[in-house]
């Protein structure tokens, strides 16, 4: 009964909340609009937005040494997570059967294990830093911790269900994924999408002023 719910109705609800929630959050940003900048431009806003859109993937050399842990752990976690999400065989099978209708080449098992380890190490380091560094301790909100723990559970149940030998483990993974998807639009996990307009707004302002930001 519960298994069927998780496989069926819960998944449907999660998808609906996830999609509508994201659209709602995007509307929440863009409905305010921005005023046109009336100052005579020195450069292009669009190229500034594009430049900043990419430049912020790398740390400025001036503070690189101070934030090496952020950068290394951050990349370990994000890259590991995306590789798992996109190239794990069960995920591709799931996408083919339930979401997209087509699949693509999966990564070998050893690559799955390595990327999971990298992602876990990165996530644990980022979480420890959040708790131990006075700066992040001060500015972190409950939301940041909930997002971290939810994702940890998603990844952990996923790895426990690696060989798909038990329905229970697969269902536990699916259930945590559904929770994660429902939570996503209501949290700062939205940064996964909203980093684009944020960089764009800042980049266009600096682009107009002729500063490479």
């Amino acid at each position: 009964m519960f298994v069927q719910w998780v496989n069926g109705i819960f998944w449907d609800i999660a998808v609906v909340v996830f999609v509508i929630g994201i659209i709602w959050r995007l509307i929440a940003v863009f409905r305010h609009g921005t005023r046109k900048d009336l100052a005579e431009p020195r450069g292009s806003a669009v190229s500034g937005a594009v430049y900043t859109g990419f430049s912020r993937f790398l740390p400025r050399p001036e503070i690189r040494s101070k934030i090496s842990l952020h950068v290394i752990a951050g990349y370990m976690f994000h890259l590991g997570l995306f590789v798992l999400l996109l190239f794990a065989a069960p995920h591709i099978k799931f996408a083919e059967e339930h979401v997209l209708g087509f699949g693509w080449a999966a990564m070998p098992h050893w690559a799955f294990v390595v990327s999971a380890q990298i992602a876990f190490a990165g996530l644990i380091l980022l979480w420890l830093q959040r708790i131990l560094n006075p700066v992040t301790r001060l500015i972190s909100r409950a939301d940041d911790y909930v997002g971290t723990y939810l994702l940890f559970l998603v990844m952990l149940t996923g790895c426990m269900a690696m060989f798909e030998s038990y329905t229970g483990l697969r269902i536990a993974h699916l259930l945590t994924v559904e929770l994660f998807m429902v939570y996503f639009p209501f949290s700062s996990l939205m940064h996964a999408i909203l980093f684009i307009p944020s960089r764009g707004y800042t980049g266009s302002l600096f682009g107009l002023r002729g500063v490479k930001a």
Partner: protein, 417 residues
């Protein structure tokens, strides 16, 4: 809720736009901005983390624009802003931030933190939480036309002194001149050599220019306070005299926020395009040099460095011009390890210099500049902002350092052919 607090909260609500919503919605609280902030790196106090300084605005956004915030507010679980919050953040936003926007440059999400701190100041100012020194400077600027309380009399005195010095006559209120040069109060009382220097350079280059006796002040205390009404009023005065004198260009003098304000913010404050172009004095000098109208002879052979004013480099894009000007006359030009758009602030920007109670903190924050300068052999520091110059001189003296600080226009004028 007190009336003052209510005014502040209403103001903050009105400050929320698409950028603010996007910024707060995407902040992951990684704390990287702290590593870029001189008030944090020099004190080690995590309260000076840049994004933490926007907390009042974040709270208003969270309680009025998010699912969880609205839910908590309706259930009576949220803790609204209090008077004591505003009092705490008055210290963080005015004493512990020079709005240098170095944090903006390093945020991996691309959040313009300085933009939001500026908005926090709007709310604090509306509620009356402004440091006394800055408040008084604002009142003087509105009433007398200069944050230092200078009047036309002081300007006339400075002009007379510089005419004697240079032996040239200085144009004042010339209708139809090409360029109108604004001044900062500092350049009238402390660094009047600036007036003499441009007089000599412009005479050589054959530039048609003028000063204005009606309103000479380039600085804008409204921006430093974060009160856009005062800011619009003060920048409107510049536009008014420029229109009255029918000039084609307005020159922003050696002052950081004066340039950013009149060049980039004034059209948006006044909601119209300006009928003249705005150039920073360095932009003009570099252009004159390129056109062959500014020629120098002799070289400065000792080691010399250049301090970027944040509002001119990072916030307004005048980065290459000072380098080309420096290399024009200096044979041994040294860069500080972080410079250009990632320079370290002198610690006195954003109105900190008008705020006497922030002096101990400002001296602490100056440690980073001290370290930067200690690495160099340069005994001369050239800069392009009279406020930076004043703060640098003060910081050097406080630390018993011997370096000399000089404005770039004056520095160039020494080697005029």
């Amino acid at each position: 809720m007190s009336a003052a607090l209510e005014r502040g909260v209403e103001k903050l609500k009105g400050e929320i736009d698409a950028r603010v919503v996007s910024y707060f919605s995407s902040c992951v609280h990684c704390g990287i901005c702290a590593e870029a902030c001189l008030f944090y790196t020099e004190t080690g106090d995590e309260r000076y983390t840049p994004i933490y300084k926007t907390e009042p605005l974040r709270k208003v956004w969270q309680q009025n624009h998010t699912f969880w915030g609205k839910l908590a507010s309706n259930l009576g679980l949220s803790k609204p802003l209090t008077d004591s919050d505003l009092a705490d953040w008055e210290e963080l936003a005015y004493d512990g931030c020079s709005v240098c926007s170095r944090c903006t440059m390093v945020c991996p999400i691309g959040i313009d933190i300085a933009y939001m701190i500026r908005k926090v100041k709007e709310g604090l100012a509306a509620a009356g939480y402004v440091p006394d020194g800055l408040q008084l400077a604002g009142e003087r600027a509105l009433k007398l036309g200069s944050p230092m309380g200078l009047t036309e009399k002081s300007l006339r005195a400075a002009i007379a002194e510089q005419e004697k010095e240079t032996g040239m006559s200085i144009p004042v209120d010339v209708v139809g001149a090409d360029y109108l040069c604004m001044l900062s109060s500092n350049e009238v009382v402390t660094y009047a050599e600036f007036i003499g220097s441009i007089t000599r350079i412009f005479a050589k280059a054959g530039i048609s220019w003028t000063l204005s006796s009606d309103y000479f002040e380039a600085t804008n205390t409204g921006v430093q306070i974060g009160d856009s009404k005062i800011a619009a009023e003060l920048s409107g005065r510049i536009v008014k005299v420029a229109e009255k004198l029918k000039v084609k260009y307005v020159i922003s003098p050696e002052c950081g926020h004066a340039y950013t304000t009149i060049r980039w913010d004034a059209p948006n404050f006044l909601k119209r395009k300006l009928p003249f172009k705005v150039v920073h004095i360095m932009e003009l000098l570099e252009q004159l040099h390129k056109e062959g109208k500014l020629k120098t002879k002799g070289k400065f052979n000792e080691a010399v460095t250049y301090h970027d004013p944040c509002n001119i480099s990072r916030r307004a894009g005048v980065i290459n011009q000072p380098r080309s000007l420096m290399n024009m006359v200096a044979t041994n030009f040294e860069e500080m390890h972080d410079h250009g758009d990632m320079n370290w602030c002198c610690g006195g920007g954003g109105g900190v210099s008008s705020n006497d109670r922030a002096i101990p903190l400002r001296y602490k924050a100056f440690d980073v500049k001290k370290r930067q300068l200690d690495e160099l052999s340069a005994n001369t520091i050239v800069t392009a902002c009279s406020n930076c110059r004043m703060i640098l001189e003060d910081g050097l003296e406080h630390n018993g350092m011997q370096q000399e600080v000089i404005g770039i226009t004056e520095f160039i004028a020494h080697y005029l052919e």
